[in-house]
């Protein structure tokens, strides 16, 4: 017998459904908090969405003189210019210039100005410039992708299960997506195209989790004709709990490897994924499953009976 078998020798008996009211309250509070944060703090949009210029330079000899760089670039009249030194050697500097008023030509001219001003002492490791037109389009496409993904997921679940499961999946996925938006808004982490990828991956991962438990609910509905819905839902979550734990653990270690070793471009993605892992797992067990108790998913028995049955339990 392996180590793990000793650890989980029996199916656990946690009462997930019974904790649904505190879970819903927590969920609602987090979602409201997210909306408040989005309304007041907004997002720290990267240049993908906000437009503007991003230049990553590496000073050719010795650490970069960031004070001097700030001075000369600040006096170009390009509006807000932010500089950020990073890396161990102190040679790397990230320069961000806000979107310039006017069309694409103006943006290009601003980039040329920055390059001229910095001169030959720097190696250009990365240059990104997004004009206002593309920024708006990327924003629109990102929003569209997220909305369609949530709907497509719900539609698939509806098609494979019943409408009640589809509705549950919709609520759970909505929860995950909103809270991940909240994560970006509250932490002030840069929100860019990779963030949209992170949100969609979280939605996909979380629904994966939810579907596994739903699958077990469906199986148990056929298997235990007399069990109350309340107990049946709890049983499904408990039966799949070992799998949930293991899968979360494997994905967690790989995402952790990405976070710590994947470099700064993937840093934001990995951080969001870790958060999504927690949120997604929570929503599968405490949102997607307990909401089913409010829908009539069992023929012959209804909610009231289940509630009575649950109250009868010690």
């Amino acid at each position: 017998m392996s180590f793990y078998a000793h650890l989980i020798a029996r199916t656990p008996k946690f009462d997930f459904v019974g904790k649904r009211i505190p879970a819903f309250v927590l969920t609602a509070a987090l979602i409201i908090g997210t909306f408040v944060s989005i309304a007041t703090r907004g997002f720290n949009f990267g240049i993908d969405f906000a437009g503007g210029i991003l230049v990553e330079v590496q000073s050719i000899d010795g650490p970069a003189n960031i004070a001097n760089m700030r001075d000369v670039l600040g006096n170009l009249g390009l509006g807000e210019v932010s500089l950020q030194q990073f890396g161990e050697s102190g040679r790397d500097v990230m320069v961000r210039v806000q979107k310039q008023d006017g069309d694409e030509k103006v943006q290009m001219a601003a980039l040329a100005k920055v390059k001229d001003t910095l001169g030959n002492g720097y190696e250009y490791r990365r240059v990104e410039i997004v004009g206002p037109k593309v920024g708006d389009e990327l924003k629109r496409d990102g929003v569209l992708a997220v909305i369609l993904a949530v709907l497509a997921i719900a539609a698939y679940v509806w098609f494979r299960f019943e409408w009640q499961f589809g509705a549950g999946a919709l609520i759970a996925t909505f929860h995950d997506v909103v809270l991940t938006f909240g994560f970006f808004s509250i932490t002030g982490m840069e929100f860019n195209l990779t963030s949209v990828a992170a949100i969609l991956t979280i939605a996909g991962y979380s629904i994966n989790d939810t579907v596994v438990i739903y699958d077990r609910v469906r199986e148990n509905l056929r298997k235990y004709k007399t069990l109350s819905l309340y107990d049946l839902l709890n049983l499904a979550v408990n039966e799949t709990l070992a799998r949930t734990f293991l899968t979360v653990a494997t994905v967690f270690v790989t995402v952790l490897a990405l976070l710590l070793l994947g470099g700064d471009v993937l840093h934001g993605f990995a951080a969001a994924m870790l958060w999504g892992l927690v949120v997604g797992t929570f929503s599968s067990m405490y949102v997607a499953i307990p909401v089913l108790i409010y829908f009539k998913i069992r023929v012959g028995k209804d909610r009231e009976e289940d509630e009575t049955a649950s109250q009868a339990m010690p």
């Binding site: 410039i129 698939y156 679940v157 990779t194 699958d215 799998r243 270690v253 952790l256 990405l258």
Partner: protein, 522 residues
């Protein structure tokens, strides 16, 4: 359960073999793979990993429309003058048409078929008060814009090719966009400046009946126009009054080269036969007058015609640097763009940063894989080791699929691979957990394995298909590197379903047959 049909075993082995063959080039050094056939290449790296420049260009479709309509206005004017018809209000009408008023009805009816002939595609209307209008429908205009975009792509490709860039990729995106990808280009400023020029070259006669000073005060003779000069030298005019009529256009050039004349950089050119004839006629008829060489509405120079130029070739001199002369001849060789291009988006990654990203990605993948492998053995022992074999095979198949399909590996794509490892073992976890449950329920060993694989299959299918739906949307709406992520995630999920279900099953069955355990060590 333990007996597998032969064809299934053969198929699994065949897939594994193909995976090994097609993923192998990824382990070889670049110099070796460059000499390999095209069907046996490593996965192609995105610009964010190999370094290079991505430019998104937009064709000015408004310009295409305006240009077309104003050409039509000029054609109207020429026809009406030739027919000696009195007209008024000639000009562009709204967004898609041209209008002219001809008061006299008999004149109007006489000239109508002639005007109609100028563009039979357009809709032709006459109102009761004598206003003739020619209007284009959306499809007719869209066709013209489409032609202009296609033509622009050709010109962009020629200009980029002339610069000798390694394996550039030029593709159309949507109705009026062009994506230019230039691997290995560190500083695209020069290419951007070349693509930003329309490079429309025309030869006009200088109008010597009016001085530029008069013209600047608004007294421009009809049929002439005031153009600025690019000359930076002192003592030369900053503006010229030139005839609107184009004597010869740059489209009649066949070649152009940078060269030197009296130690100064100049650009030589050669006309086609028809162009040479036109040029000879013009220079013969206008000896002693000045001929303006106009590039993108700026006069490069306006030399005096000393004698007819009959050889069909000539030289453009101006205040050029050697680089200017080289660029101008390149632009003339490649041809003029039908409309100006604008750079909407640029993303350039230096080769160092790309190499750093590859290293970071490789380390993260390696460590991620190691952690998952250790974790699975720790939890499931022997069965975990079998799952690890399936996982490694999954990665090999994924890499082979990407290489064969020509998919591009980007940095987010590497994240997709790392994530796939975490999610791929999920299928194994589902199967093993199911086995544990069935075994605990008192099933026999064979029946446990059988039922576990059968029941887990449906779950794995549903769970992965929903994730695939999200990945498909990411591919549809994502751009560049993010698309790479969607591709690796999708391919990884597909190959993980194969390895987890088929391969693991085969391995578990073989293991049971060889070892004959009484119970599963779960």
């Amino acid at each position: 359960m333990l007996q597998f049909p032969k064809w299934k075993i053969v198929m699994v082995l065949l897939v594994a073999l193909c995976g090994a063959i097609w993923s192998a080039p990824n382990l070889l050094p670049r110099e070796t793979t460059d000499r390999m056939p095209s069907w046996w290449q490593p996965v192609s790296l995105g610009l964010d990993l190999q370094g290079g420049s991505y430019l998104l260009l937009e064709v000015d479709t408004g310009y295409v429309k305006r240009e077309h309509l104003s050409n039509l206005v000029e054609a109207f004017r020429t026809t009406l003058r030739k027919e000696k018809v009195k007209y008024a209000d000639l000009g562009i009408n709204g967004q898609n048409g041209v209008k002219v008023r001809i008061a006299d009805e008999t004149e109007r009816e006489r000239v109508r078929p002639e005007l109609r002939k100028l563009d039979p595609e357009a809709q032709f209307d006459v109102s009761s008060d004598g206003l003739l209008t020619l209007t284009y429908g959306e499809p007719a205009m869209a066709k013209r814009i489409n032609q202009a975009v296609e033509q622009s792509i050709g010109i962009v490709r020629r200009r980029v090719d002339e610069l000798g860039t390694r394996e550039p990729s030029i593709q159309r995106q949507g109705t009026d966009r062009i994506i230019v990808q230039l691997p290995g280009v560190k500083n695209p400023e020069h290419i951007k400046s070349l693509l930003g020029k329309t490079a429309k070259l025309t030869f006009h006669m200088v109008d010597d009946t009016a001085s530029p000073e008069d013209a600047a005060r608004g007294r421009i003779p009809p049929g002439s126009m005031l153009l600025p000069s690019v000359e930076k030298e002192r003592g030369l005019p900053s503006q010229y009054v030139v005839r609107k009529r184009v004597e010869v256009g740059g489209d009649m050039l066949t070649d152009s080269q940078p060269t030197f004349q009296d130690g100064r950089p100049v650009v030589s050119f050669r006309f086609s036969v028809a162009g040479g004839k036109r040029f000879a006629e013009t220079t013969a008829a206008n000896a002693g007058k000045m001929l303006a060489i106009v590039l993108d509405d700026k006069v490069i120079s306006a030399p005096r015609i000393n004698e007819p130029i009959l050889g069909g070739s000539g030289i453009i001199s101006g205040s050029f640097s050697a680089q200017d002369a080289q660029d101008l001849s390149l632009l003339l060789r490649a041809g003029a763009l039908p409309a100006p291009l604008q750079v909407l988006e640029e993303r350039t990654v230096g080769p160092d940063l790309g190499a750093d990203s590859i290293r970071a990605g490789a380390i993260a993948s390696g460590v991620g894989l190691l952690l998952v492998v250790v974790f699975m053995v720790f939890i499931y022992g022997t069965l975990g080791a079998l799952a690890n074999v399936a996982l490694v095979l999954n990665l090999i198949i994924l890499l082979a699929l990407m290489s064969v399909l020509g998919a591009t590996l980007t940095l987010p794509g590497i994240a997709g691979i790392v994530l796939t490892m975490g999610m791929a073992v999920d299928a194994n976890v589902l199967i093993y957990e199911r086995m544990r449950e069935e075994q605990r329920a008192g099933r026999s060993l064979i029946s446990t394995v059988q039922v576990a694989f059968e029941r887990a299959f449906g779950t794995i299918l549903d769970a992965n298909l929903t994730t695939l739906a999200a990945a498909a949307l990411l591919f549809q709406f994502g751009s560049g590197p993010v698309r790479g992520f969607a591709v690796t995630l999708s391919l990884g999920l597909l190959s993980s379903m194969f390895t987890a279900i088929m391969v693991t099953r085969l391995m578990v069955a073989t293991w049971i047959r060889l070892r004959r355990p009484k119970t599963l060590p779960l």
